[in-house]
Amino acid sequence: MNTLNVRKSGLSTTVQDSGRDGQYAIGMPPSGAMDQYSLAVGNMLVGNPDGAAALEATYIGPELEFTDSRSVAVTGADVGVTVNDEPAQTWQTLRLSAGDVLAVQQVRAGARPYIAISGGVDVPLYLGSRSTYMLTGIGGFEGRALADGDRVPLGAPESAVPPAGTEVPAELRPELPDSTVLRLVVGLCAYRLTERALESFLDTEWKVTKDADRVGYRLRGGSLEFVEREQPFGAGSDQANVVDLGYPVGSVQVPGGDEPIVLLNDAVTGGGYATIGTVISVDRDRMAQARTGGSVHFEQVEINAAVVARQERRARLEKARAAVATA
């Protein structure tokens, strides 16, 4: 089996695919690439089937030595890439040979670069997915982030791989603003907030704290009031507590009233804090590229807008597919 030699692992680089379904009811989140759009386009550029496993880096990318010929594409965050110390393009099919070294540097904008490799990362499937879930150490490469010296198995490439230089045009790459707009369906236990608190939540420019990872993003910038109530039986005495319930991926909770947490791909699946709304699935791609020190704000949308946004992403992916196919 051919492997990829990890010369430097980067800050936190994990194997991710489209995620793990069907385990939420026992308390296992889906994991998977935080920015699914960038993963999907990366796979297109190297001729992989949708949902093949790739590497997701965080802020500082890895340095990887190849042991055979592969096509590679780096998508996601805006980042400098070199092949054998020579600058190389992102959002483009690169051709590497045995002994070549791909280095993904520190991001300039965004947070997470994706490194897709023809043949895909071929770690064993666990419960239907190759995604890493670090909390319990499952999936991915030994259930953990890559470390220097790891040898990561690669699969057999598809027969038809786009030629080197195949590119996805700039308008089909995500914007990476300093301030990220996240569309939110308000609901769940939003009744726990006063009307003013909900308005203020939507008006606030929230700062992304340093506690921002695959589990969730903690935000700061305002404080929110709960409607005073006698706590219902079983909830616990704090005003932020509810009878423990399921948390949607993307849901927002406000434990102390002053530090909203957006739960993401590796989050806990349930608990006893009031949730006040959910970031729509498409905008988790944007959240994935929001970084510590950057800011986000929430824009309320109805469910139909969320479904339409999802269709638009699919249409955009098809445009990217067409661009890759005609190159």
Binding site: D21, G22, Q23, Y24, A25, I26, G27, M28, L135, T136, G137, I138, V185, G187, L188, C189, P232, F233, G234, A235, G236, S237, D238, N241, V242, V243, D244, L245, G246, Y247, P248, V249, G250, S251, G256, V268, T269, G270, G271, G272, T275, T278, V279, I280, S281, I303, N304, A306, V307, A309, R310, R314
Partner: protein
Amino acid sequence: MTAMELQLPPARYEFGGDEFVFVEIDREMSLQANLKAMAITGALRRENIDGVIDICPSNASYLVRLDPDRLHPADLVEELRRLERTAGVLDNDDAVQTRIVDVPVLFDDPWTRETLMRFRDRHQDPEVTDLEYGARINGFPDVGSMIESITAAPFLVTMLGFVPGLPFCYQMVPRERQIEVPKYVRPRTDTPERAFGYGGAFAVVYPVRGAGGYQLFGIAPAPVFDLAQRLPDFADDIAFPRPSDILRYRAIDRDEYERTREEVEAGRFRYRIREAELVPGELLADPDAVNARLLEVLYR
């Protein structure tokens, strides 16, 4: 027959973005709310609807994860409303087929005690242990009486979640005999694996080491989660507890704890499990009689 149905408000339907639908059966916890959530989610599972990915019954609510490319969330809500009318009207005579399990717990153990002492600054009452605090605010004369109360009647698994395999357990006694404690003021960043905790009206066993906000009362020698599936009880699933399981927490001493740990380490441990039938009407009418019968089934 529908006396317990009348106590529940109509369910509340909420979109958790486009990939989830959250349904709140009631804001407060009750056996009835959980039984209704279990009945509706059970019926939904049998419908086998394309686009439904995960069905997660929770204590007094449930959550459904869906693929909005295949199923519009609004259509799913319509279907769930229909199921509330058909499957959600419980007949108190309908028996729930389940299993009752003996779950040994070493209360007031050195490991959770060491952990809770490290996080006193996050607790309601830094001067006492979690057990002492729980006993006091629930009106027990001492810690021993509260432990007796926890072990006297079994618990229903009303939800799995938080982390893989964690069972939320609700004691099958009338509300006035339920123990209720707050969660930590600020959650701990550490909890030992297999810690037995209590928060709100729920008892849990923490499957893995990690953060947690429940009061720490003890530790279980046997796992509820076994990633390697080494123990026979985990042959089919990495998580042992299932929704609607009945767990009886039994206080053990340090000797039994060590013996059980050895069995677990050697891969020989098996939970004591018996088939059981739960009739909601009987449980609501005379919980003590039902619990006595369940314990007899478990230990005879």
